[in-house]
Symmetry: C2
């Protein structure tokens, strides 16, 4: 099985390392895995090869995808469009192409517009990540992470199942989802938190007292500003390609803060000019309720996270039977797969 990885950062690098590890296992040892890598930066290409992310690298994305059964595009979102343009004519018939971007509507639109009908495009998004560079890449990055998958309508059932299996191989929990829902949900739990983080960093670090304030900042501040240390390009692209969903959640968040403000005003022992208020005039009940609700919701979420994994959303997708798939996997992972999976298989 030949896999091409375009973009050798945290996510691309971790895909390579995780597949490599699998290829040494009982199941993977007959896969004849070959990983071909491309990155626009020569230093990244060299580093990736040194780390064992790929067997060899190429000087163009076109060369990387030639003969590949699986193509993983892990570039920043806005680079994907031109990557699709570049590789479209060089993809093998029947190849599986996937991406790893944090926004999915735009990427699926580009894939539909630019990639040939002879391949299966299945959008992907691993809900993992910490730092944004190749140094952070590990074989276990996707371990137990929810891995969103969104096939284009013309993607072949066998290709969907094969990528599902690959996601499991690298440790992810495949999760099929609608692209608009994905983009809205991810705006809520990933993009809005990023914006909250950069806003806090800029507000505090550009405030008058920062020289003094910064000395007091500790663990809580570190947590809440961590996301602002992420990749500038990636987050800029995310904000641009998901602007409507992000603005929607940002508005809801502002409303939430406005509500919270009113509740604090009621409960506060000081008025806004810093004058003490008689305790009898204050009312802490609503604020206590607000904080308690959050406390409990946070606990419940952590509990749910600890539950055992399962594949979700697969019922929405028309798939071959278990038995057919078993045969499919065997072919794919022993190298004979690509030949059979071409859409016009048997005609030539």
């Amino acid at each position: 099985m030949r896999v091409a990885i375009i973009g050798l950062g945290l996510i691309g690098g971790s895909w390579g390392l995780a597949l490599r590890e699998w290829s040494r296992s009982e199941e993977g040892k007959n896969s004849k895995l070959e990983i071909v890598g491309f990155d626009a930066k020569a230093t990244q290409r060299n580093e990736a090869q040194k780390q064992g992310v790929c067997d060899r690298t190429t000087l163009t994305p076109m060369e990387a995808v030639v003969g590949a059964e699986v193509v993983i595009v892990a570039t920043p979102p806005l680079v994907m469009r031109e990557t699709f343009e570049d590789i479209a004519a060089h993809l093998s018939r029947g190849a599986i192409v996937t991406d790893t971007a944090s926004t999915k509507r735009e990427v699926l639109r580009w894939a539909k517009e630019l990639l040939p009908d002879t391949i299966s495009f299945i959008g992907g998004h691993p809900m993992a990540g910490k730092t944004a560079s190749l140094e952070g890449a590990t074989a276990t990055l996707f371990n137990k992470c929810t891995y969103c998958l969104i096939p284009l309508p013309n993607a072949q059932a066998g290709a969907i199942e094969a990528l599902t299996r690959l996601v499991e191989i690298v440790g992810g929990r495949p999760h099929f989802i609608d692209p608009a829902e994905h983009d809205s949900y991810v705006a809520a739990i990933s993009h809005l938190p990023f914006l909250m983080s950069v806003a806090l960093t800029n507000l505090t670090s550009e405030s008058e007292g920062w020289r003094e304030i910064s000395k007091l900042a500790a663990g809580g501040y570190q947590d809440m500003t961590r996301l602002s240390g992420g990749s500038v390009t990636m987050h800029l692209d995310i904000c641009r390609t998901n602007s409507d969903a992000i603005l929607d959640w940002l508005d809801r968040y502002q409303q939430t803060l406005t509500d919270l403000r009113a509740v604090i005003e009621k409960a506060g022992l000081y008025d806004e000019e810093g004058r003490p208020r008689p305790s009898a005039e204050t009312d802490p009940v609503l604020l206590q309720d607000y904080i308690e609700r959050a406390h409990k919701a946070r606990e419940r979420w952590e509990e749910e996270r600890a539950r055992p994994p399962q594949i979700e959303g697969l019922e929405q997708i028309n798939l071959p039977t278990k038995k057919e798939l078993q045969a499919e996997y065997t072919r794919m992972f022993t190298g004979s797969w690509l030949k059979r999976r071409t859409p016009d298989n048997g005609k030539k």
Copy 2:
């Protein structure tokens, strides 16, 4: 040296464990350290004694402070007022009394109003913390943390120096600061982040799609909601005793988000109805600048954090000479200190 700790949670517990560790060191082994603990909950008292936080516990805060040279009040903020009322008549002359609350103006007001002139009150606030319970207590919690100290005007120089040394002994970096500045700065880097966190938790967990959204939430969401898992009582008291500073920073934060919103709107590839906008009509420059500023500020802050420690703000305080202090320490840490430090020393 007898130390009383009132409130045996994360902070009180860590004080006990850190002092205990010091008492086994070369410097501390002659200190005849005795730690007396009180907590309103019997389970906490038992657990604290089992963990070695204190040598013995008492059934009232009054009993705990009798004969103590140092009293550390580590209860939730609003409990401090009644604790001061309770212990006032039982404090030894010349005792050092400190607290550990996250808001300082109110606590200092109570101390001035309720505690006798014969003791030295020095407000304290360690910029440390992760979980909120005794189980999280460790001897190293204060290691390298900025430890704010705010003496009342009548606090004796020797008492200030002695507490400064104790803070260093438990690993903290003493940091003298004005109470109003403290409360405003801490609102910016601790209380506002807490409110951001609870608002995000409630917004998302109470949204329609939460059942689905929650499955996608990962590391970023976990970081940004972590603070909402903290102690409800403590945070409620903090919000109430620092409401004016908190509302001021919340307003500034809302303004920052409003500015950021406009910048995203300019850069977005979608309009608010989700219709794609021609790329030429969008302008990513300001958004890129916004994200880059945060990225760099975050990097700079992390660099500054890594710098070696130093005592700050001490120059503002009238202190005895190094030589006098040396003698002071020796007396304090060998048990003869309390007798000499009484304000009317020599008169009787």
